[in-house]
């Protein structure tokens, strides 16, 4: 299987220092937040790769770097062997860009309230001077709305319908890759299932590749082929879906699975995980998870575990086997 998206040693550092004057007066150092740190993974064509993790784990940052909304501090994102950051041929860049689209979390914030739905959906094509005749109408029907809706404004739609419009817009430039950043977190359960089903159907029909970002393990379990688990900006475990859920190897993955509420967990008494995600500006030395890890040994405090391949799983833990 050739990789459509190939991410190598991706790192993104944000400068979160106080303003210059404050630093001088309060004698503070510059502060840097490492949102994504040396993350590497491949996404095969026509598969769904899910990134899961808690807030601050860097999953949205990776999504934004892949679509090109943020530059990487270090490392590469290659799409079809073309690295957008270093590619010099503008024709190739334009081609790859139109192949990657994004669906955002909040369908209320990601549609321009002053534009008609037709303009919103046509925009990705119109911006490149493409032909948009009847495009919005056919896409609206494809995502389960009606062609007549093209003349309406976003406020006339419910949350689920808006997310369908966002999906139609993402499809407009005929992309191969869609980065979905928590596409259903803002939706109700019954609407969520409609949108997830639509996304599965579209993936099958159009041969799409999804980079699916979510914190909801049940959604990920339903959608993903391969899952990458992030903790504090680092990939701690990666495995095919069934493998990961049947046999999580990293203690953090195990902790996430145990903590997630279950519908058959009537009166389940869980021993809740201890502690919270540490401050990403001063992450713990060694393995970032060691202060919360039930298995941590001395080595975990000093030495950062490298990614190791164990069967189908890649895991970054000294003790995993």
């Amino acid at each position: 299987m050739s990789a459509l998206i190939s991410i190598k040693n991706l790192t993104r550092v944000f400068d979160v220092s106080k303003p210059w004057l404050n630093r001088v007066l309060e004698r503070r150092e510059k502060a840097y937040l490492t949102a994504v740190s040396e993350v590497s993974f491949d996404v095969a064509e026509k598969t769904v790769y899910a990134l899961v993790g808690e807030s601050g784990s860097g999953k949205s940052t990776i999504g934004k770097i892949v679509v090109g909304l943020l530059p990487a501090s270090d490392g590469h994102v290659e799409i079809d062997d073309i690295d957008l950051a270093t590619e010099t041929d503008p024709a190739k860049v334009a081609e790859v860009r139109s192949e990657v689209q994004m669906i955002f979390q909040d369908p209320y914030a990601s549609l321009n309230p002053r534009w008609r739905v037709r303009e919103i959906i046509n925009e990705p094509v119109a911006a490149r001077g493409g032909k948009t005749e009847g495009l919005a109408e056919s896409l609206l029907e494809q995502v389960g709305l009606s062609a007549k809706d093209a003349g309406k404004f976003p406020h006339e739609f419910s949350g689920g319908q808006r997310q369908r419009i966002c999906i139609a817009r993402a499809l407009a430039s005929n992309p191969r890759i869609i980065v979905c950043d928590e596409p259903t977190s803002a939706l109700d359960v019954s609407v969520q299932s409609q949108v997830l089903n639509l996304m599965s159907d579209l993936q099958e029909e159009m041969g799409l590749t999804y980079l699916f970002i979510s914190h909801d393990l049940t959604v990920v379990h339903h959608m993903a082929d391969v899952i990458g688990v992030l903790y504090l900006g680092r990939l701690v475990e990666e495995a095919p879906r069934d493998k990961l859920f049947a046999d999580p190897k990293h203690p953090y993955t195990k902790m996430l699975f145990d903590a997630a509420p279950r519908m058959d967990g009537f009166g389940r008494e869980v021993d809740p995980p201890k502690g919270e995600i540490p401050d990403p500006i001063n992450p713990p030395p060694g393995c970032a998870f060691h202060p919360r890890c039930p298995l941590a040994v001395d080595r975990c405090k000093k030495e950062r575990p490298e990614m190791r391949q164990i069967g189908e799983t890649r895991v970054a833990c000294h003790l995993a086997e």
């Binding site: 359960v189 019954s190 299932s193 339903h222 509420p261 279950r262 519908m263 058959d264 809740p272």
Partner: protein, 337 residues
């Protein structure tokens, strides 16, 4: 049905509650004839999609309805005393003393300009007959109870110095510090990460068990409900669709909406290629369908459903409001209508 003994009386009893909002386009009813009881030491889960009226019911109970929304019918009894028609001042005394509230967003429910110690002691001094020093001790005890490490040192900290999960613990301490009988928790874990959510749910369960507080847990997360609640009320378009013991409602739902809701969670259809889905969306309050509000989305709907509101059917320990309830698939014999 009132028990003969005192302790059998429910802590909270809501009867036929109607909340109305007059608007230019007519009167909206975000809560329509809702009745339920919560007993001491019990967690009642209230689920539904957005706009179902879950938060509005909680706000009505605690007296925090934003005008022009108002209670127009029914009664709310707290330990047998009516609280739906009492004066603002009397209600203010009850709030905090007899009932505590936990909101979704822990940052906006704390005052950013006061230390958490000030906020806790203020509440304790207001409601309990204690002195300043005693109030501070109680505040520290409350923080320790909700699991804040080094409570004595952190009592002078401001809310922004705490993380999201810790802030929610402070909010819970604040709701608990005057020892209320009822706690209304409105989406207490929605803004939190999974691991912190598990901590907060475990904390709520422990407090409920140890202190015998009655808890109304409003959430849209079925997993949280399954793990925490004793009984669950399912709301749809302002009405109670179904109410019963949590296991019954989740595994053997009688109301088609409940069944659809449970089936459409990705948890329920693990391994399936497609998720079950309920067609359509919840109707707007201004345009509620006639008869049963769920009938346009229901595959069991008949002429009756379109004409008249559904009857209440009682089964075992629960009830549902439906013309054509799903047959009970379990060994316990029900009597389907």
């Amino acid at each position: 049905m009132k028990g003969t003994e005192m302790e059998k009386d429910p802590v909270l009893s809501v009867r036929d509650l109607v909340v109305e909002i007059p608007t230019r386009h007519g009167i909206l009813r975000p809560v329509d004839r809702v009745s339920y009881d919560i007993h001491a030491g019990e967690i009642l889960g209230v689920v539904g999609e957005s706009g179902a009226g879950k938060s509005m019911t909680g706000n009505a109970v605690i007296g925090l309805l934003d005008p022009p929304a108002r209670i127009t019918h029914g009664e709310i009894l707290l330990s047998g005393q009516p609280i739906h028609n009492i004066k603002r001042e009397a209600l203010r005394k009850l709030r905090g003393k007899k009932m505590g509230m936990i909101f979704q967003d822990p940052l906006t429910s704390l005052n950013p300009l006061l230390t958490i110690g000030d906020q806790l002691t203020e509440t304790i001094l207001e409601h309990l007959d204690v002195g300043q020093a005693e109030a501070k001790e109680r505040a520290i005890a409350a923080l320790e109870e909700v699991g804040i490490p080094a409570a004595r040192d952190r009592i002078g900290s401001y809310p922004h110095e705490f993380s999201g999960g810790m802030r929610q613990r402070v909010v819970i301490a604040l709701a608990l510090c005057a020892e209320p009988e009822l706690i209304i928790a409105d989406e207490p874990t929605t803004a939190l990460d999974v691991s912190v959510q598990a901590q907060i749910v475990a904390l709520l369960k422990r407090l409920c068990r140890e202190r015998g507080v009655a808890v109304m847990l409003v959430t849209h997360d079925m997993g949280v409900i399954a793990e925490a609640a004793d009984r669950v009320a399912v709301m749809y378009a302002g009405r109670l669709a179904e109410l019963g013991p949590v296991r019954e409602v989740i595994t053997k739902a009688r109301h088609p909406y409940t069944a659809g809701l449970m089936a459409s969670t990705p948890m329920a259809s693990q391994g399936a290629k497609r998720l079950r889905q309920i067609p359509g969306a919840m109707p707007r309050l201004g345009a509620l369908p006639h008869g049963c509000a769920f009938h346009p989305r229901c595959d069991r709907a008949t002429a009756e459903c379109r004409a008249d509101p559904p009857p209440r059917i009682d089964y075992c320990d629960g009830r549902a409001a439906c013309w054509h309830p799903l047959p009970q698939k379990d060994t316990t014999k029900g009597e389907p209508a």
